[in-house]
């Protein structure tokens, strides 16, 4: 009993200490900096630091100190330890980052107990934000980008679609989203293929897609080598030649895009951010990030971190640099701003970002580089996964 009393005392003391307005705001970023996903960490870093640099090095008059921690791969136990350490040892005011959904789930009890706002830069399972009141998300969910894609396919007169997704949680999310919306629009999903996560040879799936008689294939892949492999199989097995349309989301992401070469030409995707988005805000973003890291690719990870810092900026303004998680969270509900991806806002109920989703086609841009050319704006989309 005495043990417990002491505990409550120390926690109270820690928060009392934190509530004095600080001159330096500490932001802990948890991201993969090692392992096969290390590029996410580098892009988060470039996006976040680019944002602060673009604001003249200070947010709302406060210096920003970033503390980076490595989540490695999907490892919730490790991530939880890192988050606890950031809170109790480094005494961070805000946290951000996280690529993998299980890692994001693992952090929930820590931020709930310490009332630390956490801006999710990437992890895309819809219900993450429901697990703590201190989550806000600036990335996207598969429902958010897939629903407009399904609507578009139906409008275009496509009646039969086959889905081919990688067999893991986000892939299943994507499949469910497409099936649900496409059925609502009166279309038919003739077959749903789930491709094992370790697949390296996609030829058999390409053959199955070809044999299914579908007019289009809705695809979800986890990024990196599988993307290259699938698109290669799509071309080599004559799917493109047969006119089976490719409907994707993040598959033509800028990080891999140049590796596809000409095989990517004409692929269509529905997504919230393209490096080729034509707006002043996107130019500012590109210049600011290039100054911090000239090799950094502009993609959903970079822009997720950039907008994550925009949210943290707003929270610092609202609290005047004081440690007040509830006030900070209240301030960003419904907050609107101009992002490099277009106008965005934070949905007050889901704390997920509301944003335009665009239909894009891969084209050869200036200098022979591949770009995701935005051809249609589907308008603002909420997270259809939480708002269904």
């Amino acid at each position: 009993m005495r043990f417990q009393m002491k505990l409550v005392g120390t926690i109270a003391a820690a928060f009392a200490m934190g509530s004095v307005a600080a001159e330096t705001i500490k932001v802990g970023i948890i991201a993969p900096f090692s392992g096969p996903f290390a590029h996410y960490g580098a892009l988060f870093k470039a996006g976040a630091e680019g944002y602060v640099a673009n604001q003249g090095g200070k947010l709302a008059g406060k210096d920003i100190e970033f503390i980076y921690r490595d989540e490695g791969g999907p490892n919730p136990a490790n991530t939880r330890t890192l988050a606890q350490e950031l809170v109790i040892k480094d005494k961070v005011d805000y946290m951000g980052g996280v690529v993998f959904s299980p890692n994001a789930f693992a952090v929930a009890p820590v931020i709930q107990a310490s009332k630390t706002p956490f801006v999710v830069f990437n992890a895309a399972t819809s219900d993450i934000t429901t697990k703590s009141d201190y989550y806000v998300r600036t990335s996207y969910t598969l429902w958010q980008v897939t629903v407009p894609m399904a609507q578009h396919a139906a409008k275009k007169g496509i009646k039969k679609v086959i889905t081919a997704v990688t067999d893991y949680a986000p892939g299943v999310d994507a499949e469910n989203a497409f099936k649900a919306e496409f059925a609502k629009q009166g279309g038919e999903v003739v077959e749903s293929i789930r491709m094992p996560i370790r697949t390296t040879d996609f030829a058999p799936f390409a053959q199955r897609i070809k044999a299914s008689g579908a007019q289009a294939v809705y695809v979800f892949l986890p990024g990196g080598p599988p993307n290259l492999g699938f698109v290669k199989a799509y071309n080599e097995n004559g799917l493109k030649a047969a006119g089976i349309e490719f409907l994707g989301t993040a598959e033509t992401d800028e990080f891999d895009l140049q590796k596809f070469g000409d095989s990517a030409l004409g692929l269509t995707t529905a997504f919230h951010y393209s490096a080729a988005h034509d707006s002043p805000a996107n130019k500012v973003f590109a210049d600011a990030v290039a100054k911090v890291n000239k090799d950094a690719v502009l993609n959903y990870a970079t822009v997720g971190a950039w907008d994550g810092m925009a949210v943290i900026h707003k929270m610092i303004e609202a609290t005047g640099g004081q440690r007040d998680g509830d006030k900070a969270m209240a301030a960003i509900k419904g907050y609107q701003w101009e992002s490099p991806r277009g106008p965005v806002s934070i949905d007050p109920t889901t704390r997920h970002i509301t944003q335009n989703v665009y239909l894009r086609t891969v084209e050869k841009g200036a200098g022979g580089l591949m770009v995701n050319k935005e051809v249609q704006n589907f308008g603002p989309q909420v997270d259809h996964g939480l708002r269904k």
């Binding site: 009993m1 043990f3 417990q4 505990l7 120390t10 926690i11 900096f33 090692s34 290390a38 960490g41 980076y68 921690r69 490595d70 490695g72 791969g73 999907p74 490892n75 919730p76 136990a77 490790n78 939880r80 330890t81 606890q84 350490e85 809170v87 109790i88 040892k89 959904s101 299980p102 789930f105 693992a106 929930a108 009890p109 820590v110 107990a113 310490s114 399972t125 697990k131 067999d167 893991y168 949680a169 986000p170 299943v172 996560i197």
Partner: protein
């Protein structure tokens, strides 16, 4: 007195961590959890002489069993530990019946297969396990009805450390018993052991099942403290990491297993805080070094010196 001294030293060390590094307790709790797993691996690899890369299957099934029990039946932590132990032992027994018919590389590859099948299965049963998102939403009750897990990891640390000590004690008793000695005899010379009599495979199966129970306890702790179970608890990487930890500390010695775990995780934690990109250089270099510079030249010399200095250590080794 002499027998309890190593435990007293460990308790003193824990007290030191608790009071001097109060902001590192979550990490210390993870080290204690992992140490149980690595000690369990030591039973199989160090004592039994069976090189395995599928040990995490036993850890992970313990974690999932505990998580599912807490979600659907009871969140009592001690019953959770028991469930973890049972699940680990059961999987070890069932897979061991098949695995232990083989030796060497064949055995190694089959353990990999068992691990991969378990991970695949957990991913497939996503309605039960949460798949890649992990199993969440289960509540763990207060320990002994008195302490609940806190933000600072104090209760988690004490809990994990006590469980680790109990496991250490049990495993040492086990390996010091006639059964343990016979297992070491099998490791040293399978042929002679079978000539002396007794079933080699039976003894190894018993060892593997017991090791499975301890690995399951490690998994159970992991589930309870973190309130989430991910597919990584069944993964190949966890098995490989544990093997590295074991070898860094010296296989065939349970205290070495604890030391190796602590060293590996502390280096990882520090190195990845300074410059995560170069973590692989460090761990790769360490592995190469440990094998190239034989322990006879380095660790043995060091250990002997320590033993001479401390009468306790002799008893330990």
């Amino acid at each position: 007195m002499k027998r309890s001294l190593p435990y007293l030293l460990l308790v003193a060390l824990a007290a030191l961590i608790y009071f001097v590094f109060p902001d590192q307790l979550p990490l210390a709790a993870r080290i204690a959890t992992m140490a149980i797993f690595v000690m369990s691996l030591d039973l199989v690899v160090g004592y039994g002489g069976l090189a395995t890369l599928g040990h995490s299957a036993l850890f992970g099934i313990g974690a999932y069993a505990t998580g599912l029990l807490a979600m659907h039946v009871t969140g009592n932590p001690l019953i959770g530990l028991l469930a973890g132990a049972l699940a680990g032992a059961l999987l070890a027994l069932l897979s061991g019946l098949f695995l232990l018919r083989y030796e060497g590389l064949t055995f190694l590859m089959l353990t990999v297969a068992v691990g991969q099948i378990a991970q695949n299965g957990a991913s497939k049963l996503r309605d039960w396990t949460g798949g890649e998102d992990g199993l969440t939403g289960f509540e763990v009750q207060k320990i002994l009805g008195m302490w609940s897990f806190d933000l600072y990891g104090k209760v988690a640390f004490v809990y994990c450390f006590v469980v680790m000590l109990v496991c250490l004690w049990a495993m040492r008793r086990l390996m010091g018993s006639p059964f343990g000695l016979s297992v070491v005899g099998i490791h040293q010379n399978r042929l002679r052991a079978s000539a002396i009599g007794g079933s080699v495979r039976g003894q190894l199966l018993k060892l593997y099942t017991l090791a499975g129970a301890f690995a399951g306890i490690g998994g159970a702790l992991n589930a309870q403290v973190n309130q989430i179970v991910g597919l990584d608890t069944l993964g190949f990487e966890l098995s490989a990491d544990a093997l590295v930890m074991l070898v860094l500390g010296g296989a065939g010695n349970l205290f070495g297993a604890i030391g190796g775990t602590a060293a590996f995780m502390l280096i990882h934690h520090t190195a990845s805080a300074i410059n995560p990109y170069h973590w692989l250089f460090i761990i790769g270099g360490l592995l190469v070094f440990v094998v190239l510079v034989p322990r006879a030249r380095l660790f043995e010399a060091l250990r002997q010196r320590v033993m001479r200095a401390l009468p306790v250590a002799r008893e330990v080794a």
